[in-house]
Symmetry: C2
Subunit: 142 residues, 2 copies
């Protein structure tokens, strides 16, 4: 991808336009956000789930680097800006109703993603209950 | 997984409890929802993105079938109830801040997922711009 000119999003159309039409018309939720899932191009693993507002999505497409909207900090955020773990976007996929996207990315820096130091944010699975019937977690190998 | 007794979610703790502790403590957003991504166990492909409220999450864990919350219809929804495309849950993964989950699923019925008839909801990619600088989509093979 390389978009030198100012990109725009098509205006949302009918259900048929959204599902079968030729245009990208992202549907932002009531908070102005779309769900974005980053997948490692090499391992095919899901790295993280985050959100983008309109600006983050445009910046991501124009720069080929993942930008997200931080809901906790209320700010636009270039992934890897401090960690070096930039996400180079190889492809952006969109779902039927155009309210979620998948980014196929090449991870820069040390190849990591999660702020806890792991390579991916999904490093645990539900794995049973304790004696208070609470669900317990176990680790997934990196 | 097989949970015969009444399961419960642990009360949300500190950031350290959430990221490193042994308990599942899902974090629902301001609408009471958590993001759920269904992945095909066999192909490793992302099938769909949906949302669960507390009831949908408990039902999914207790029955091993994916239940979601429909934001458009405001109702609990057993995936595949009418289509036969039930999602048998093989594993549930959770991310660092416990506000997103990944379901590794075996798809029942005809093996499909999307209401448009495709096997997965992510059947298109962003693939260029038209002469009005609108982003256009192209199909991804199933």
């Amino acid at each position: 991808m390389a978009y030198n000119s100012q990109i725009t999003f098509a205006i949302t159309g009918s259900a048929h336009d959204i599902e079968e039409g030729p245009l990208f018309m992202p549907k932002f939720d009531s908070n102005g956000l779309i769900t974005a899932i980053a997948v490692n191009e090499t391992t095919n693993e899901i790295l993280m789930v985050a959100h983008m507002n309109r600006d983050a999505l445009i910046k991501s497409i124009e720069t080929n680097e993942a930008w997200y909207w931080s809901r906790s900090r209320n700010t636009l955020w270039r992934k890897g800006d401090t960690s070096g773990q930039l996400q180079l976007i190889k492809e952006i996929r969109v779902d039927c109703d155009q309210d979620s996207i998948v980014l196929i990315v090449e991870v820069q820096g040390d190849g990591g993603c999660c702020h806890t130091g792991r390579k991916k944010c999904f490093y645990r699975r539900i794995d049973g209950i304790d004696n208070e019937n609470r669900l317990v977690l176990s680790s997934i190998k990196d």
